[in-house]
């Protein structure tokens, strides 16, 4: 029997690209990747030449070539925003198998700059790609759905139908997440200084923001920014040999339920029960032992359903995790999305890396050390559940992370 890989690897550093957010002068995926890798290597105190495995969404060979690396392990898993949770899972497996000791998981996505270049092309109309003979091209694209919000809205409608939730319940998630953003000066929506629409919001603001895809309003939807990020994953043997503190991977798992939304059996359920149960089991811990949560919030409905799937809220009561600001700064519940989330911090299209970077900062106690002179808000959490949701509420990756103490 193979051994339980729990704690066989740790995240030993987490950094961002030099710039994040709305980069008006433009950027590229490559620039964002390389800056983030350069920054995380400097933070950890290694040379990029020490990287043995490269994990990214389809970009690993570009990264290796640019840096002149000849990696022993190349992974390009690209299944949407949760890919980075899976990359950590895969890196841990490769490390546990003895193939590599040091891996980089990298993300570079010019969601804002690249989006401007492609404006009006109606890209990203849903899973399945642009091959006209693909099921999505034939049976979804003819009906005018325009990307993720136009699909995820159907899940919120069904949640309301099944459980009697209202849009107001979901709006609280956007409000509480914005409260965290106001404590993070790197967040796009930190304040009126960072963005004309930044600063605190109310439930009424969410309810009165313009409709994107009813019942989703604008403030139920994540940002679309430029963002680069990278984390270093190292073997247990090496994890304490760097300048930085390790954050241990106690549990890791992944799952999926479908690719196209028309194949989603239950619109109020993702595959996160499967991925989180396996991750909890590997960690030997459960939801009650999680002291904070980083939950993919592409939309308020994504966060709400995921809270249920991870066992942090009862089925049908996902918004209760945030109710009355419980998950917010100084709230009575566990802190959730302490960076300000994809809703208010930054979200380039695939948000999973931002979940990782923030979870590392919180559990390594470095959230207030500052990035480019801008500190975040430190919590007391020593354990975290990190869950990415990708595709069309279709693919999930879950990590249980624990501090080194």
């Amino acid at each position: 029997m193979p051994s339980n890989p729990s704690m066989s690897a740790a995240i030993v550093g987490a950094a961002e690209s030099d710039q994040i957010g709305y980069i008006e002068e433009g950027t590229t995926d490559q620039i964002l990747h390389i800056q983030a890798i350069s920054n995380v290597c400097a933070q950890v105190g290694i040379s990029p030449s020490e990287i043995e495995g490269i994990f990214s969404v389809g970009y690993s060979t570009n990264i290796a070539e640019y840096l002149g690396l000849h990696p022993k392990y190349i992974d390009t898993t690209g299944v949407g925003g949760c890919s980075f949770q899976m990359h950590v899972h895969h890196a841990m497996a490769a490390i546990n198998a003895g193939i590599i000791d040091i891996a980089v998981v990298s993300h570079g996505e010019s969601g804002y700059s690249g989006g401007r270049k492609n404006r009006g092309r109606g890209r990203n109309r849903g899973a399945g790609g642009s091959d006209p003979w693909q099921p999505a091209s034939m049976f979804a694209d003819p009906y005018g759905a325009a990307g993720a919000p136009s699909n995820y809205s159907h899940a919120m409608t069904r949640h309301m139908h099944n459980y009697g939730t209202s849009h107001k319940d979901f709006a609280q998630i956007a409000v509480t997440t914005r409260d965290w953003a106001t404590l993070n000066p790197r967040a796009v929506m930190h304040s009126k200084e960072t963005n004309p629409y930044g600063g605190k919001i109310t439930i009424d603001d969410v309810e009165n923001s313009r409709l994107i895809s009813w019942p989703l309003h604008l403030l139920d939807c994540c940002l679309v920014t430029d963002h680069g990020g990278a984390v270093i994953v190292a073997s247990a043997e090496r994890a304490r040999s760097f300048k930085t503190k390790p954050v241990w991977i106690a549990g890791a798992a992944e799952s999926m339920s479908h690719q196209n939304m028309m194949e989603m059996d239950d619109f109020t359920r993702t595959s996160a029960p499967e991925s989180s149960l396996a991750a909890y089991k590997m960690a030997g811990m459960g939801p009650r032992e999680m002291e904070m949560a980083m939950i993919y919030d592409s939309f308020t409905i994504t966060a709400a359903i995921t809270a249920e799937m991870l066992g942090l809220a009862k089925r049908g009561e996902g918004p209760s995790l945030w109710e009355g600001g419980k998950a917010g700064p100084g709230g009575s519940g566990i802190p959730v999305n302490t960076n300000g989330g994809g809703l208010s911090f930054s979200h380039s299209g695939m948000y999973g890396m931002m979940l990782l970077v923030e979870a590392y900062r919180q559990l390594s106690g470095t959230a207030e050390d500052g990035v480019h002179g801008l500190p975040g808000k430190q919590t007391n959490a020593k354990t975290a559940i990190v869950n990415g949701t990708g595709g069309s509420l279709s693919v999930t990756g879950t990590l249980v992370l624990v501090a080194d103490d």
């Binding site: 009906y143 759905a145 136009s150």
Partner: protein
């Protein structure tokens, strides 16, 4: 006016009977002759029992709204139609289809009901392709 929205490009391997049916105003669905279950979207292999013995039959064209949304933002030809209602339809024969819902008021989503009965209709988009839509009955 010519149809100005995306028109499917039927493939000759798997979906042609569906589109031939649509052209004739019929909802044709694939069904496995081994386990007798229908499925959608059409596949070359049964997703229930993995048999490759697939036949086509004329379905009732009846179903129910599983869930819906009102699109306020769209591209291409659909941009002219906002707001419009999209929905996932539970087919009487099982499985599910995506559609733009007809016979509903996009300005009053509270009047649209999950579970409401719908019936299929077809719009001629080109000389060769008619596209199925569903209407609340």
């Amino acid at each position: 006016m010519a149809y100005n929205k995306p028109i499917p490009d039927p493939d000759p391997y798997t979906t042609q009977p569906f589109w031939d049916g649509a052209k004739a105003g019929k909802l044709m669905l694939p069904r496995c002759t081994n386990c007798n279950r229908a499925h959608f979207y059409p596949r070359m292999i049964c997703p229930h029992c993995y048999s490759r013995q697939i036949e086509w039959f004329e379905a009732s064209g009846e179903g129910w709204i599983h869930t819906f949304a009102v699109q306020h933002r769209a591209f291409g030809g659909w941009a002219d139609d906002v707001p419009f209602v999209t929905a996932y339809i539970d087919l009487k024969e099982g499985d599910r289809m995506f559609t733009v819902l007809r016979g509903v008021d996009a300005a009053k989503p509270e009047t649209i009901k999950v579970g409401a009965s719908v019936k299929i209709e077809f719009e001629e988009a080109s000389e060769t392709v008619s596209i199925p839509f569903w209407r609340v009955v």
